[in-house]
């Protein structure tokens, strides 16, 4: 079969990124040819400023070497721009006279710097700031000349000015408006920026309108509307960019301010796609990198004929790549009528933060001096998170950014190279930065794969992301607004769950086939997730797939580093009798348990049990009345209790009795992640109920229900859900909460991040306000518990899954042969 022909016009970031995404999906589908006007392979255009500033070299910023194109069988023509498209013949022609046929055409022609058409704009020494050639011209000028004028006080202009200054030129920035970077900054932030740039030696002419560039052959000066003149040996025009759409226009494609595309990045000719700075989508043209990557993903999805991706526009954020200046802006940072603003201003420290709030949601952010929380605010903005529960502290930042108790050390950018970032795997800052720069890493996943940093417990993820952002520029760091479940699919957790429900998918194979999984049988990320989703969606119908469970859940014990297992019998509410303890003691003698320990959840853990011994040991424990404690599962773990009013002189309610009832209600249920409960008999809270997934704090007048807490990596204190009057209500609300989490939490998402994602307000509305809905959730939970409360230990003690626990042996093998 002949492959279809795909031609990419424009060898820049957006186009090549689309090819990369496409190769991930369908490496063999197309015969690909790339035409680029520049003589270079694909390089990172947003890093031109650091190249100009001498902080990086051109080689540092090459993204795809010529070898990459060869490796993927892509024909690359550099320095040969496409000059015409014949859509009828489906053919492109280049400046050098080449022609090539296409089945699909991808336009990624980028943009051109806008050159103000004043007289003298075509003199030598008047340039834009767009590509490697411009940078080379600037560096050459810096060697020969002294006086530079940058027209335009926006992002690009300031980066150019900074770079020229670094190369020893005297630089004057000319700006039409009265504030710098007016597209990104409000006045207070812009003034701080101006002051600190002036301190570094830049000069500014504000509200200055250029009338003419003066000079004979080469530029000698700039004249303004008011008649004044300044001398100049080099003029950099950085007043904006214009989508480069000439080629598309001449080919008869519909263009307005850019090449108009739909949500699937197709132009008015469906065989012709366009991505990047050259396009206009829903009336927006983007000049930043993050949206281009979103577009690339969707476009690749369609080129691969998967057809379910939609690009719905991007909210963008900006950082200035000028060393020593921290600045961040996103969204609608100038408040409209009716908006509220939260402002933190500390002139002595040069810190300014402003958030624009509408209906308790962040609409925009401007930060100067301290931008550490920029990515956090940006995430809240994009996800439309209700901030009401933490708005009184939001300006102080996300204190626990990626860690617990590191405090100031989260200012990761300022750390020395030998500072340990990942405590699990012993990875230092220097290792991470080196891997990012030498191996060309862009994403968190890549950094995890190559350095192991953040690959274990994940508590340093925030710091690793910050390093990624500061090392490669903000575009790569921005997490995609929609995360795929794993690399086997493009679909998100929610989309997969919805499909399972709505399309009645009741088997793993059904999910793979219906949703077009890219791998024959999934991976270690999606299989356990799908097994849980199917189990939660179809209680009593779906047959659990043992091979899709992690070993702990398959063997019903926790695997230890030496390959032995640990065994934790369930003790409801932490209560036990002398006979229980004797039985546990006998079992540990009989199976020579090397170590016993009381767990954090008030249970007894028997370590070092050989896998082959597990079923026999469980048989003995079953006989003594124990069931599995599920200490190994993404499941209901334990209900921790305090002494309560039966004994404690402060106790207000029967916390142990209630704990037993709660554990009897909930044991055996599978969850998106582990789930812990606690009941404290009074507000002294000895059972530490306020760091549990659900904690009950008894008070004299009833029971407070607290949700969404956990100890662990990031300690999170619960939020108060509500207060109820009776034990029966505690059970009902708990059952409903557990079921809501089971139905809507993402696999491996604990209740703490889940509550933050969906907002406490939403949980309250479902559990507290909607009484009928709560009852339905509770009923669904009880229904699924019918099938879940079967003791897996007893089943296996009686012979189920025997192959799991019995090794093959060489003796047996001799007997067979």
């Amino acid at each position: 079969m002949n492959k279809q022909k795909l031609i990419l016009v424009g060898n820049g970031m957006a186009g090549v990124r689309t090819l990369e995404e496409l190769l991930k999906l369908e490496p063999e589908m197309y015969e690909i040819t790339v035409f680029g006007a520049e003589p270079h392979p694909n390089y990172n255009r947003i890093m031109l400023s650091p190249v100009l500033a001498g902080e990086k070299t051109v080689d540092d910023i090459v993204l795809n070497s010529r070898e990459w194109y060869a490796e993927h069988g892509i024909t690359l023509h550099t320095g040969d721009p496409v000059v015409a498209i014949d859509r009828k013949a489906r053919q492109v022609k280049t400046a050098s006279g080449l022609s090539a046929d296409y089945d699909r055409l991808l336009l990624a022609t980028g943009s051109n710097p806008f050159i103000i058409p004043v007289s003298g704009h075509d003199l030598d020494g008047v340039i834009g700031f767009r590509d490697i050639r411009d940078v080379e011209l600037m560096l050459e000028s810096a060697r020969k000349y002294k006086k530079a004028v940058v027209i335009g006080g926006g992002l690009l202009g300031l980066e150019a000015a900074n770079g020229l200054k670094k190369n020893g030129m005297d630089v004057i920035v000319v700006h039409l408006m009265d504030i710098l970077m007016e597209r990104q900054l409000d006045k207070p932030a812009a003034n701080l920026l101006k002051a600190s740039l002036e301190e570094s030696g830049l000069e500014f002419l504000m509200q200055a309108q250029t009338e003419a560039i003066i000079g004979e052959q080469r530029v000698t000066g700039v004249r303004f509307k008011d008649g004044s003149e300044i001398p100049a040996d080099l003029v950099v025009m950085a007043v904006g960019i214009r989508p480069n759409m000439e080629l598309a226009k001449e080919a008869g494609l519909h263009c307005e301010r850019g090449i108009v595309v739909n949500d699937t990045l197709q132009t008015f000719d469906p065989r012709v796609y366009a991505v990047g700075e050259c396009v206009q989508h829903r009336n927006n043209c983007y000049g930043l990198v993050a949206p281009l990557f979103d577009q690339a993903k969707v476009c690749a999805n369609h080129l691969a004929q998967l057809g379910f991706g939609r690009y719905e526009g991007s909210v963008t954020s900006t950082k200035l790549k000028v060393t020593g200046i921290d600045l961040f802006s996103a969204g609608e940072f100038n408040e409209a009528e009716g908006d509220e603003t939260l402002v933190l201003q500390d002139p002595a420290q040069g810190v300014y933060k402003k958030l624009v709030i509408r209906d308790n949601r962040i609409k925009g952010a401007v930060m100067y001096g301290d931008t550490m929380d920029g990515t956090w605010y940006f995430q809240l903005l994009r996800e439309g998170t209700d901030i009401s529960s933490f708005r009184n502290t939001i300006l102080f930042g996300q204190h626990d950014l990626g860690d617990a108790g590191h405090g100031e050390e989260t200012r990761v950018v300022k750390l020395s190279d030998d500072a340990e970032i990942c405590g699990c795997n012993g990875v230092c800052k220097g290792d991470i930065v080196k891997a990012i720069t030498t191996k060309g890493l862009f994403t968190l996943d890549e950094v995890r794969a190559h350095t192991k940093a953040s690959a274990s417990c994940g508590s340093c993820t925030g710091m690793v992301e910050a390093l990624l952002a500061s090392t490669v520029g903000e575009g790569y760091a921005a997490a995609p607004s929609k995360k795929a479940l794993c690399s086997c699919t493009e679909r998100s957790h929610d989309e997969v769950r919805r499909a399972i429900r709505e399309e009645g998918l009741k088997s793993m194979r059904g999910v793979f086939d219906t949703l077009g999984w890219k791998t024959p049988d999934g991976c270690t990320s999606c299989r356990p997730a799908l097994n849980y989703y199917l189990l939660a969606a179809w209680p009593g119908e779906y047959e659990d797939d043992a091979q899709s469970r992690f070993i702990n859940e398959r063997a019903h014990g926790n695997i230890q580093k030496d390959g032995t297992y640990s065994v934790v019998p369930r003790m409801f509410g932490g209560l036990c009798t002398a006979n229980d303890l004797r039985a546990i003691a006998d079992v540990s003698d009989k199976y020579q348990v090397p170590e016993m320990k009381v767990t954090g959840g008030q249970r007894i853990d028997l370590f070092g049990v050989k896998k082959e011994d597990l079923p026999a040991m469980w048989k003995d424990l079953s006989a003594a009345g124990f069931v599995s404690g599920h200490a190994y599962g993404k499941a209901l773990r334990t209900v921790k209790t305090c002494a309560g009013k039966n004994w404690c002189r402060f106790g207000t309610q029967d916390s142990t009795g209630l704990g037993v009832q709660l554990e009897e209600l909930t044991w055996g249920s599978w969850m998106p992640h582990k789930f812990k409960l606690a009941v404290s008999g009074c507000p002294r809270n000895c059972a530490e109920a306020t760091i549990k997934d659900l904690g009950v704090v008894c008070v004299d007048s009833g029971y407070e229900l607290h949700v969404g807490g956990n100890g662990g990596i990031k300690v999170r204190i619960t939020d108060l859900l509500c207060k109820v009057a009776s034990e029966a209500e505690v059970l009902e609300y708990t059952g409903a909460f557990v079921q809501l989490y089971r139905e809507e939490g993402h696999y491996l998402e604990r209740t703490a991040p889940w509550v933050e994602r969906v907002s406490l307000g939403y949980v309250k509305q479902r559990i507290v306000d909607d009484a009928a809905g709560r009852m339905e959730l509770y009923e669904r939970f009880k229904y699924s518990q019918q099938f879940a409360q079967v003791d897996p230990w007893r089943e296996r003690a009686e012979g189920a899954e025997a192959h799991e626990f019995t090794p093959l042996s060489i003796d047996r093998l001799r007997a067979v042969s």
Binding site: T519, P520, D521, I551, A555, K561, H803, P807, V816
Partner: protein, 109 residues
Amino acid sequence: MTDWIAIAKLDEIPKLGARKLKTEQVEIAVFRTGNDEVFALRDRCPHRGGPLSQGIVHGHTVSCPLHNWKIDLHNGQVQGPDEGCVHTYGVKVEEGVVYLSLASVESAA
């Protein structure tokens, strides 16, 4: 001299799963993939010695249960960016019976 020795019926190894085989010299993990191919590797991850027979099998790969290293069942190579190699043993399936090459076990010992 017959080199091949029967060790199990194919049905005794779960699809997308493994069985541990204990020999005097070494523990071997015998894997069965989704399309019923069978592979035998030393049951020991080159990273921290995790028992590979307890891992999740997907495609032609097993992920170690301890730290999720991924090992190619065909050749025992650890998949990038981690590095390492696991010893593989000769194995074949005939008429629903899995045979192990004794020579490959003895030569490795």
